[in-house]
Symmetry: C2
Subunit: 333 residues, 2 copies
């Protein structure tokens, strides 16, 4: 297997300390490659970067007609959220309208990602619930799919359940590739994740951005989901999160979503381009530097957007005493 190129590195003083390899592709809905590096055909797990694709199942099963998901609830279905109050409220709101509760979520409980939210819970002497799980919005959306399908909600997270079969089918339709049991794992939130080429995920995001190659109903669903995510970027991640900052700065032009283990996906909506990126070693900060460099290259940022992205493309590394001693930086291709 050929080595992917070095796309990010950390420095310390005047020397390079760590090197991060990876691959990315920016592509249009016809499959025309705008920019690429590394092996974009090697199947990778997209993890949470494709939550907006998974959320298409809500529309495929007309759950939205039955439960009238708000734009906020759709944004949260696309989210790996910080576990802040606003996220917990939107998730529990949908659950209660479904006649369900936190006990029906199968994602498991973990501490809020956001430090202030963690500290607030701790100050209350409270333990985190499944609602604080970064995936609680996605899971609530999946529960609405189970109800719309008229199948038992219990076990909805498992690979064999009708909900996950439906989720798999909408992803396959969007990425234009069969997803295989031979390249399948379980995500941190207990649902299946299927590996496929970066090229396929990127093209899927281009299709969602344009509607090209999608059935009209799915094209409309994709537009609603991208509108929801870019209108409510604080719900897709949260306070201070890079995805939220990028979507806020791009004012609807960019849908950006990270995934665990160094995946970054999204779409430059006005261009009709999708993108997908994976840092080979799974580093989240390195993948952020890489995707910032990608957007600087192809997204035609204005001055404010450029300043934001440059900050992610050059992240300071500090000593315990707070002095800058190096940086994580994107490597020019």
């Amino acid at each position: 297997m050929d080595a992917n190129p070095i796309l990010a590195e950390t420095t310390r003083g005047n020397w390079v300390e760590n090197r991060h390899r990876g691959a990315y592709v920016v592509i249009d809905s016809d499959g025309r490659i705008i920019a690429a590096a590394g092996d974009i055909e090697r199947p990778v797990f997209p993890r949470s970067s494709i939550k907006s694709m998974q959320a298409l199942a809500i529309f495929a099963r007309h759950a939205h007609e039955q439960f009238h998901h708000s734009q906020q609830e759709l944004a949260l279905a696309c989210a790996s959220h910080n576990g802040e109050d606003m996220h917990v409220e939107v998730a529990s709101g949908l659950l209660s309208r479904l006649g369900l509760s936190e006990a029906d979520l199968e994602c498991g409980a973990h501490q809020p990602i956001n430090a202030a939210a963690r500290a607030a819970l701790r100050a209350e002497g409270a333990k985190p619930s499944s609602l604080h799980n970064a995936c609680s919005g996605k899971h609530s959306g999946m529960l609405s799919v189970a109800l719309a399908m008229g199948v038992p909600t219990a076990g909805y997270a498992s690979r064999e359940h009708a909900v996950q079969q439906q989720v798999r089918a909408v992803i396959e339709a969007v990425v234009g590739e069969p997803l295989s049991e031979a390249k399948c794992g379980t995500d941190g939130c207990s649902i299946p994740t299927y590996a496929a080429p970066l090229r396929a995920f990127a093209r899927g995001f281009a299709r969602m951005a344009t509607g090209n190659g999608l059935l009209p109903e799915m094209a409309s669903a994709a537009e609603r989901l991208f509108d929801a995510a870019t209108t409510h970027p604080h719900l897709v991640a949260g306070t201070g999160h890079p995805d939220t900052q990028i979507m806020t700065a791009f004012k609807g032009r960019v849908m950006q979503k990270y995934g665990a283990d160094g995946v970054q996906c999204g779409a430059i909506r006005d261009k009709g381009w999708g993108y997908a990126l994976k840092c080979d070693d799974g580093s989240l900060p390195a993948s952020l530097a890489m995707v910032a460099a990608l957007l600087l290259d192809v997204a035609e940022p204005d001055a404010d957007q450029r300043a934001l992205l440059e900050g992610f493309a050059h992240q300071p590394i500090k000593s315990v005493r707070g002095a800058q001693v190096g940086e994580m930086r994107a490597v020019a291709r």
Copy 2:
């Protein structure tokens, strides 16, 4: 620059998710290579993996004759400790014998590495001090060097200070290479770190293990430091830490020390071999899998040691709900 080989990877389900490249060398004091992979001449920052080399400065300046460092204090000088009570006590004990206090430490304060120690501090409503810094033992030792040299203690962490010049000189003597300002950075604890080839660090550890190539006084100092570290492995890291577990299991045969950003160094004392390893991307779990595989290969572990190392060479990856969904594993060379 050629890519180093993949030495560890993570799986999820039935597919590889992340890949970690790196280099390592096992070498004797004459420079004869026992085992190696990747580019062992590329200069890397050793970070905390060479604290036992840095601690030689205590002996080079006869601070040990003036302050009679206990074996525990010498072990803590070689440590990146967990910030548990035992570590804080040994560091503050030496400081008070020096007529100094926590206020003289220039490493900065951070939360204890050990989760139980963090929780205990929090339960007391206390903030961490510089004594909880993983490097407080090393810094206390460096303060003893400053006093023995008759120089001001203030600023002892800076590159230009006489203490750091002395530390640099003992490292150069042991690794047999000049350390260059052209490949120098500042470590997390504010002292300088110099990049040099893995081969040089590994050979330095072989020299410390055997005394070969060292002046008699330094050979004796190296033996005392390795004895201290392997006799008190709980002080070199702490409860549940891999370094502590490895040194405990090997009953004095192995001196093992991790460094930040994926460095692992040590010596197989009875063989007279030193080793040094760097994971290119800086992953600590990946570097642990790599060094476990290295020790399985060359250290002739008994059944208990083998079982321990196999656990580090195959670390489970779990979902939020606690199910094993993959593993970090060493890749056979």
